[in-house]
Symmetry: C2
Subunit: 105 residues, 2 copies
């Protein structure tokens, strides 16, 4: 769940955009928070998927039958979210402290 | 399993080192390849963990009882490995094409 808005990545860090997207919850689109994985290998915030299951017992991504007791913690995702957010902040500093040089002419 | 050696990250991309480490298999230390997750939420290459289970039925990280039928594909990790390797290559290009400028004196 969102605590604060993340700034967009500058063009020279655009390569990180795919990694950024993969670390987000398909329900709330924020970074995964207490990641739970279904049997069908899809990942959601714990809160998001539990709310969804109170509505219907399907995976919101692929519509496979799913239920709360089949959820499994995917802790590596939580660690990746933390490390990625940290790296992103550090890289933003690098980018703004060392602007690109135009090619020599 | 290793196909080629990855170059070390330059100092201004060191922030990505933690992400890099998290995406590696605790058995072979290479990037995860067909990631399988145990019930205890630890991740390994499919081949690495199956070989290990032929030796003993424990999680190599936390020693919890584990077995092949409890393994679950963790496909998001495979996608993250691919995207991270791609991003890393693009960022290395950015770094070498735009060396840092010394602060104005
Ligand atoms: Zn969510
Ligand atoms: Zn699914
Ligand atoms: Zn491995
Ligand atoms: Zn374990």
């Amino acid at each position: 769940m969102a605590l604060q808005m993340e700034p967009d990545l500058p063009p020279n860090l655009a390569a990180l955009k795919n990694v950024d997207n993969l670390l987000r919850c398909p329900i709330c689109f924020d970074f995964l928070n207490i990641t739970m994985m279904t049997k069908c290998s899809h990942n959601f915030c714990s809160l998001c998927i539990r709310k969804f299951f109170s509505y219907k017992l399907l995976c919101p991504v692929c519509n496979t039958q799913a239920s709360e007791q089949d959820l499994r913690n995917n802790r590596l995702l939580d660690d990746l979210v933390t490390s990625f957010q940290h790296a992103r902040q550090q890289l933003l500093k690098v980018v703004f402290e060392s602007p690109p040089i135009s090619p020599k002419t």
